[in-house]
């Protein structure tokens, strides 16, 4: 049963992240996703201090707002202070992450968080934190509920805003002409990324969030030229990584998050070499003139 809960957690995170990641990598904003996943730390700590629990809805919202603030800061430094784009990302997230760690040290007695947990989470503990009613009825692990809720939210968001998200990613100029606010959808997307990060940080850690945001979408991107296929494919790839990763970790007796990230890398490597469309082996063959 534990294995089931852990794999389910991994798959839920994989679903949210892979879907959003497709948009991120097409917008060339993979590193913004990376930045958000680290920069929500102070938000998590502050929200934790106020609410005293790890996965309540106010906390997810509070920390999610910090993710949006991160995006805003990156934009602000870049556009108004003219810091070059990559530097602006790097400065913003390291700064916020540093504040987060300092906050953890200051409130060490009150905050049950540490750096390891933030970086690579403790997915193995997911089945231990059960949601029990007063009468002792168990609804399964608490994290599953939070993550399930966020996953539904993300899927709903993508279904409702599919056209807008698609257009603002591929042809912002056209989107603007037909009256879609590119800024609004940009920030909505970033809000979704922050929500996902916050909801999954505790179970899987920042690093697996980044691995899922980038890995499965990048692999899918090498396998198809159709965007809808890419979305579905990347979710499937993410879920497979979660399952295989779990057993790899079990076999090596190591971190599950680390193992899943390793598998996403492996999947990418395979697609990079053998993808019928864009794989290295087939591309070379195509390049030979007939």
């Amino acid at each position: 049963m534990n294995a089931f809960w852990i794999i389910l957690t991994g798959s839920l995170v994989a679903t949210c992240c892979s879907l959003l990641g497709c948009y991120l990598i097409l917008r060339r904003m993979a590193m913004v996703g990376d930045a958000i996943s680290h920069a929500v730390l102070p938000g998590i700590v502050i929200a934790f201090l106020f609410t005293g629990s790890r996965d309540s809805i106010p906390m997810i919202i509070g920390a999610g707002l910090l993710g949006v603030l991160t995006t805003f800061l990156i934009e602000f430094f870049h556009r108004y202070a003219r810091v070059q784009a990559d530097a602006s990302i790097g400065i913003t997230f390291t700064w916020l992450f540093a504040i987060g760690i300092i906050l953890i040290s200051v409130f060490a007695g009150q905050v049950d968080l540490d750096q390891d947990c933030v970086l690579y989470g403790e997915i193995a503990y997911v089945p231990l934190d059960l949601w029990l009613t007063d009468s002792g009825l168990s609804f399964g692990p608490r994290t599953i509920w939070t993550l399930g809720f966020v996953t539904l939210l993300i899927i709903g968001f993508i279904l409702v805003g599919y056209k807008e998200l698609f257009l603002t990613a591929f042809d912002p100029g056209y989107a603007a002409v037909i009256g879609i606010s590119t800024t609004l959808w940009y920030y909505l997307l970033m809000t979704a990324v922050s929500l996902t990060t916050v909801a999954s940080f505790e179970s899987v850690g920042a690093i697996l969030v980044v691995a899922f945001l980038v890995g499965p979408p990048a692999t899918a991107y090498l396998l198809t030229d159709n965007f809808k296929t890419m979305l579905v494919l990347s979710v499937a790839i993410g879920v497979v990584a979660a399952i295989v990763g779990y057993y790899l970790a079990y076999w090596l007796d190591g971190s599950i998050a680390g193992a899943i990230a390793t598998i996403t890398g492996l999947q990418f490597g395979l697609a990079f070499l053998f993808s019928p469309l864009h794989g290295l082996l087939f591309k070379n063959k195509k390049a030979i003139p007939v």
Partner: protein, 427 residues
């Protein structure tokens, strides 16, 4: 306060070592960071920082010791490999650089975590402290470690100084460097190697996640204060060193405080202040400049309008009402009134009951703007062969910019003309 004196007298050998260590680590990565920043590859440092972890773990698994040399070697190999992979993925597939960086970063780190936890669970007693690589401990850098890392830091600084000219050319004009026969590929490799070394060493101070800041932040801050690479390197080194010392001081006064985050916090604050307040490039300076330009343009446009009305009625010093002034050009009333009030304070116009009138100074300045406008229109039609109905817009902008020297030159080039392309008199 007494702690302050105690710390900065450097009486305690331990304080001396920690300070020297932090300063060397922070400043050497800052210097190398300048080059990666200028090559627009700032985030690559982040990938390397994450990628050293599997190397450290592998080195430990293979050698079974925590000898800093061997661990450094392992870190160096995977760090270097990660950079090569990023380049390879970007050049050989349609994956973009940011995706490649994110992918390599998370996968390498994932492998590292997997190995690290696997080692920790294996019950090998020698492994404790390996995770120091993850979070960095500048304050506890002592003995053999300190010597090794300081040596690498000094080596980095020396190499940078030796190859200063070559690296500079690589950053600013790669094509030119290639054309005059510089070994660009080897130089790139050198820079890659320097970056990896800087990261491997810097991680000791601030840890994996914050390492990117040690490379990027001092360099980005320094960039705002100067246009010269030499000065930028020096400034970045000083900013890095300063935050290194401060970080060491903080962890001296409050041992429970993590040194790395404090170093990063301080260096980030310096950077953010630089973005805001640096002269010339800073945000505030640019806002002020833009504001100044805007009011100057508004004032000159108003004077120009008054002068043109004068031309029309062949009477430059009569009163004009606001509506008359704005009849030729659409300026928001509020703005126009503010501009007129300012012009009055400066003595360019006089306020009368029924409107405003130019003073002698105002007439001269208005005339100059009109003259520049028409001169430029003439220049464009004569020298660029533009149609006379296409030149007005351009002249509208340039009339506020042309200096007296340029004006003189234009007059000479155009042979002191009397009429503009619309057959109006040039005053």
């Amino acid at each position: 306060m007494s702690e302050f004196i105690e710390f900065f007298s450097f009486g305690d050998a331990n304080i001396r070592y920690v300070t020297i260590g932090s300063v060397l680590l922070a400043s050497s990565s800052a210097v190398v960071g300048c080059f990666t920043l200028l090559r627009k590859r700032a985030l690559v440092g982040d990938a390397v920082a994450h990628a050293v972890l599997p190397g450290v773990c592998l080195a430990f698994i293979l050698s079974g010791t925590k000898n800093p040399f061997i661990l450094l070697l392992g870190a160096f190999v995977t760090g270097w490999l990660s950079l090569i992979l990023i380049d390879y993925i970007t050049s050989r597939s349609r994956i973009k650089e940011d995706t490649a960086i994110g992918l390599v970063l998370s996968v390498f780190f994932g492998i590292g975590i997997l190995l690290l936890t696997s080692i920790q669970h294996s019950g090998n007693a020698a492994q404790s402290g390996l995770d120091k690589f993850l979070f960095g401990k500048a304050a506890s850098l002592v003995g053999e470690d300190l010597v090794v890392f300081s040596a690498v830091a000094i080596l980095l600084l020396i190499t940078t100084i030796l190859f200063y000219k070559e690296l500079k050319l690589l950053c600013f004009d790669e094509t030119f460097a290639k054309s005059i026969g510089f070994p660009v590929r080897s130089l790139e490799l050198l820079l890659t190697t320097l970056t990896v070394f800087a990261v491997v060493v810097g991680i000791q101070a601030v840890g994996v996640v914050l390492m990117a800041a040690m490379l990027i932040t001092p360099a980005a801050a320094a960039r705002f204060w100067t246009e010269r690479l030499g000065v930028m390197l020096l400034l970045a080194a000083i900013i890095g060193a300063f935050s290194g010392i401060t970080g060491a001081f903080v962890s001296y006064t409050a041992p429970a405080m993590p040194t790395g985050p404090w170093i990063v916090l301080i260096v980030s604050m310096i950077a953010i202040l630089s973005f805001a307040f640096a002269p010339k490039r800073g945000w505030v300076a640019r806002m002020l400049r833009r504001r100044h330009n805007k009011t100057q343009i508004l004032e000159e446009n108003l004077l120009k309008l008054l002068y043109q009305l004068g031309e029309q009625h062949e009477d430059y010093f009569s009163n004009r009402t606001l509506d008359t002034i704005l009849s030729r050009r659409n300026i928001p009333k509020r703005e126009a009134l503010a501009g007129l009030a300012k012009l009055k304070r400066q003595g360019y116009i006089k306020r009368h009951a029924e409107g405003w009138a130019l003073t002698q100074e105002g007439e001269t300045r208005g005339k100059r703007v009109v003259r520049l406008h028409r001169l430029w229109e003439l220049y464009l039609t004569q020298y660029l062969q533009l149609a006379s109905d296409h030149v007005h817009e351009d002249a509208e902008t340039i009339e506020h910019i042309i200096t007296p020297e340029l004006e003189q030159k234009l007059m000479e080039e155009l042979n002191y003309p009397a009429l503009d392309p619309h057959q109006t008199k040039i005053p």
